[in-house]
């Protein structure tokens, strides 16, 4: 009888079976010029702030695959609970999977406690989960919401550290966004003023950072609930042409016409097959 009759003890979670194969492939193929596929990052600008009535979260909508725009209208504001939303930056799949898992955890927890979930609970779950994976899950998140203790905003980094702040921005466009927020933030702002400030911060990221683009999404969480304002502002819409600048065929008169035949011989033929899998 064979060892193959006994599979390893089943354990859920991540499987590391292919890690050795992957490292062997990378080392073997990099000499021939091939590269391992890179994970799609969101290359983002996300920002949030706490205002008088609640919290306002904002994000851009571009997802990049290295230097190519993979998606022009992706949603980076994720639902965690009816009163808690979260913006995700970093590796797109990691942010998506982490926020979905966190949303399930929060729902189970609130069913067990019998109370609506709190933002600090979401923050703690997230920190513990990300620290457990030592930063290999590349998700930077801004978690914000309104609960029984008030309005809170936490920014969580991939290695598991978090800060509770009145406003913050993350992602590749964080520098541009935080400069706008630092300039104009005031405690206990009015809701409309806060929306405009967050939209301006994200717009600064869109215009100043290559990894962010397309449009601004906002999420406003107040006592009345959460509203997702998709496409709140589109600073990067393509310009409209004001007139036709092409000349009609026949505008220039033809004086004379001469046709000459040229014979071409094929010197070299190079066939490159396309990888269509």
């Amino acid at each position: 009888m064979d060892v193959a009759t006994s599979p390893p003890a089943p354990q859920g979670g991540f499987s590391f079976l292919n890690c050795l194969r992957n490292t062997a492939l990378e080392q073997g193929l990099v000499s021939q010029g091939f590269q391992a596929p890179k994970a799609r990052k969101t290359g983002t600008t996300i920002a949030g702030l706490v205002c008088a009535d609640g919290v306002v979260l904002g994000a851009d909508t571009r997802a990049t695959d290295d230097m190519v725009v993979a998606e022009k209208n992706c949603l980076k504001i994720h639902y965690l609970a009816p009163n808690i939303y979260c913006c995700g930056a970093g590796v797109a799949a990691d942010a998506e999977a982490t926020t979905q898992l966190l949303s399930s955890k929060l729902e189970l927890h609130s069913l067990a406690t019998g109370r609506p979930p709190r933002v600090v609970t979401a923050n703690r779950f997230l920190r513990q989960m990300l620290f457990r994976y030592q930063g290999h899950i590349g998700a930077s998140l801004i978690v914000a919401g309104l609960d029984s203790t008030g309005a809170h905003l936490y920014s969580v980094h991939p290695h598991g550290s978090s800060s509770r702040l009145p406003y913050n921005s993350m992602g590749s466009g964080a520098g541009a966004a935080i400069s706008v927020l630092e300039d104009r933030f005031k405690p206990k702002m009015e809701l409309l003023e806060a929306q405009e400030l967050v939209a301006d911060a994200i717009q600064a990221g869109i215009l100043g950072d290559l990894g962010s683009g397309s449009s601004v999404d906002l999420c406003v969480i107040t006592q009345d609930g959460a509203r997702l304002l998709r496409g709140y502002r589109t600073p990067a819409a393509p310009g409209k042409r004001l007139g036709r600048y092409r000349y009609r065929a026949g505008t220039t008169a033809v004086l004379s016409e001469k046709v000459e035949l040229r014979s071409l011989e094929v010197l070299e033929e190079h066939v490159q097959s396309m990888d269509v899998e």
Binding site: M1, T5, S6, K105, M129
Partner: protein, 141 residues
């Protein structure tokens, strides 16, 4: 009574790699297991591999240590006795057991994690050889 047969009722009764094919060169099935390498078997293939494998036992140890510091030695002792009792309720070795009492004791019945979504053992595509595993468990091998 065969002591090995009754002893293996308590521990995890999936056979370990003691039985190898008696080929002249290979120590095992190369098609299914791949080439052997001492380095691959000793060293982890990913920084997280060991910490993930030991995550649940380490959590348990941490919780028991905390419980001992707060409530005294009797608390973890009683809990560990309950754990031991509950781990004996298993299906046949090649079938997946729900471990519902164990999950409730650990508090995992109200939690969800990546281990519930990815690589769920109840939906595994491979199964051990039933007869061999039963024979190993009953000590008839």
């Amino acid at each position: 009574m065969n002591s090995r047969g009754s002893g293996s009722q308590l521990k995890d009764s999936i056979p370990i790699a003691e039985f190898s094919a008696s080929g002249p060169f290979g120590g095992h099935d190369i098609l299914r297991r791949g080439f052997t390498s001492v380095k691959n078997e000793l060293l982890p293939s990913h920084p997280l591999e060991l910490s993930e494998k030991n995550f649940q036992p380490n959590q348990d140890k941490m919780n028991f240590a905390t419980l001992r510091n707060i409530q005294g030695l009797h608390a973890p002792l009683k809990l560990q006795m309950e754990f031991k009792a509950v781990k004996q309720v298993q299906r046949l070795p090649f079938l997946h057991s729900s471990n519902i009492a164990l999950d409730t004791l650990r508090g995992n019945d109200e939690c969800i994690g990546f281990e519930d979504i990815l690589n769920d053992p109840s939906q595994s595509e491979v199964m051990g050889e039933p007869h061999t595993m039963m024979e190993y468990k009953l000590g008839l091998l």
